[in-house]
Symmetry: C2
Subunit: 423 residues, 2 copies
């Protein structure tokens, strides 16, 4: 990492990262100052943000804005973050999913519908935090390698902040995903290679360009903290308590570990009772290295070559895989995986019962919850939350050819009635 404090003219001042105080390595707990670095030089494990929270009260959070900045004192962002141009993600619905609960045979079920974010996925949360932290470190260009949701979120947030953006995508990406990123008018660059090539290129570019913040590379410790806000919102929306069970999709695994971190921090701060909870992980069988490791009782993850329609979860070598296994085992949860057919069924089940149209990742979560209930791993009598993190409008190909009009009829009332009779 070459982009460190003081390397550009705009970084002379001390970064204000709120109550964040240092970075800690996940393996051996080595401590180092806050900087745009993501891996420990001591033990080569990922770095995570540590805080000196002091006192944080419910009233202060409740008096904040109706977006993730209400939790600013629990994030590595400046104390005036809500005044700085950025997106305003969060504050999404927690839906009392009575119909889905009935269909799955569980007592009480909630769906956290994160499709309401500015670019319709949870990535807006992590990108907004990454942008706020990157600004403090003096970066001026927001970047990422991506195949979809992240590209949208980075390009949109940079536009709003008045930053340049550089988004790298494999040139084979679907037209819709190209359009939904290009419209924000940053530098969208198609790379003649697969996602692994694009990712390697991003790491190289991050090291070579001191004003470029690759949200999921050199500022990853800050970026990933944004996922905690999913846990914070769920707990606050439940009336300041932690749910007994939560099902989280696994891509890199970062989100799942941060949801756990969010619940623990809320408990430690006395914002909620530190009640026990179980974290469950969801993968598509076509990319299920963490699920396979869990099943085999391993504590490391064997990389795989992804082959699934759930492309936003298709990370064959998930960086936080081992930490996901830690969280799931510690909390008494489980990990399962589901076929692509089950993913589509999951999408349709959620739409049919709750009127929420999710992308394939949400289909994975719903279908995995169903499987966990059927196999007795998820307690149907315990209150459960499903994280629905992305939007069906972005993965229309998953349902194409499987759904359509009931009938095509002549413009007459009789023809409509006839069509309905034959339903």
């Amino acid at each position: 990492m070459t982009a460190t404090l003081g390397t550009t003219s705009t970084t002379k001042r001390t970064p204000d990262l709120g109550r964040a105080v240092e970075l800690v390595s996940k393996e051996e707990g080595h401590r180092q100052p806050l900087a745009p670095e993501f891996v420990s030089a001591e033990d080569f494990s990922p770095l995570e943000v540590a805080y000196d929270f002091g006192k944080i009260r419910r009233e202060d959070i409740e008096a904040g804005p109706k977006n993730i900045w209400r939790y600013k004192n629990l994030l590595p962002v400046p104390s005036n973050v809500e005044e700085i141009p950025n997106t305003e993600p969060g504050g999404t619905r927690l839906v009392d999913a009575r119909n889905l609960a009935k269909a799955l045979g569980v007592r009480k079920l909630w769906v956290k519908d994160d499709t309401g974010n500015p670019t319709h996925s949870f990535k807006d949360r992590v990108v907004a935090v990454a942008l706020a932290a990157a600004r403090e470190f003096g970066f001026t260009t927001l970047c990422c390698p991506s195949t979809g949701n992240l590209a949208n979120a980075v390009a949109a947030a940079a536009a709003r902040a008045g930053w340049d953006s550089v988004v790298l995508i494999p040139k084979t990406l679907e037209k819709a995903k190209i359009l939904t990123t290009a419209v924000y008018d940053g530098a969208l660059i198609a790379v003649d290679g697969n996602y692994d090539d694009v990712n390697r290129l991003a790491t190289q570019l991050a090291a070579e360009n001191e004003t470029w913040a690759f949200v999921n590379v050199n500022v990853r410790p800050y970026y990933s903290e944004g996922s905690k806000t999913l846990a914070f919102e769920v707990a606050e929306q439940l009336g300041w308590r932690i749910p007994e069970q939560i099902v989280v999709p696994i891509a890199s695994g970062s989100q799942l570990t941060k949801v756990d971190k969010g619940f623990r921090e809320f408990g430690q701060l006395g914002l909620v009772e530190a009640s026990p909870y179980k974290v469950f992980g969801a993968q598509a069988t076509g990319c299920s290295p963490v699920s396979a490791a869990f099943r085999a009782g391993h504590d490391t993850v064997q990389p795989v070559k992804p082959d699934t329609i759930a492309r936003s979860l298709a990370i064959g070598n998930p960086a936080d895989g081992p930490y996901v296994l830690d969280v799931v085992n510690r909390t008494g949860g489980a990990i399962e995986d589901v076929s692509d057919e089950e993913v589509v069924e999951g999408i349709r089940l959620l739409a049919r019962t709750e009127g929420i149209f999710t992308e394939t990742a949400g289909g994975v979560t719903v279908a995995t919850a169903k499987k966990l209930i059927e196999t007795g791993k998820l307690d149907p009598d315990a209150e459960t939350v499903l994280l629905i993190t992305g939007d069906g409008l972005k993965t229309l190909d998953a349902v194409e050819g499987k759904i359509g009009p009931l009938a095509t009829v002549a413009p007459s009332a009789d023809a409509v009635r006839e069509a309905l009779r034959n339903r």
Copy 2:
């Protein structure tokens, strides 16, 4: 209208429509009891809901849910509406659009970003209110004729409420719009005809099926009241005050008249100071009957045959056209229209400056605001709000071929730098 009180077994009880007390005809003010009717038998003008509000305080609204039901006492819905399964639209962002303000040369600009709603358009607001009122009248099937956003909203809300739905579409509708409606698993029926045929069929079916609520036909007076929540939210989010200028897209014209009604009700109730405001209307030139009437100084609207990419605004014979002219003239606003090229430029301008990707209707609003500023009709020193009512993900064809990657390069840092240099 045959679907009246007491015609089905579920309608024995008196409908609870909150503080709504009667229907009033818009032309001559004839009063009649609340019922699922939409046109006055006395003067053949549209019926509108009238209320006996009593006292409504800011504190009661602020203590309500973070969605449109916080305004339940100003809507024709039951007093326990938030406990009944329905979608929970509203609570969408009001964005301080500093970059767009600068680009347009205005002092203070806000963008109401209604893409955050459950199915990503303002239609969720009106449909949720229609469903709540329809339930009180004993209807059990939610219906509409539609070419897009309304179809999504009706099918989703019905699914969530556990109702049947019947959605009628022209069979030529784009595949994406068919998929995003069909996924909710109601009765989606493709009709061999154009939108006018579908609309006529809906009116006939509404009259023949006493349990079918066509949201925009037989329960239209209730449905349209949902648009007031856009005005309520804007005023509350501004800190309980009315903006000086607001730009609203015109399809049927209902939304614009209801935004005005919302501001007036808030003023009458003392929830905000009844300060003056100007309402501006936006149309695409390819379907601009209200703009043409305004320009000619007429008080009625000559129907046109729509030909524009802004299909969600393409109503050639807008039902509320004359009332739009009333509101705009009374408040001292104006109406303008913009070409399809300007619509695309408007979409791109909003995305580039604020990171918000809107559908063609939003492009109409942004481009019209630009034109109104350039022609001196909109005061650049007065605070202005733009209503962005739908999502760019639903009208990708509008930008296709016009935007794309900056370059396609080999997977090397040099190639990326070279591409950026040539930008």
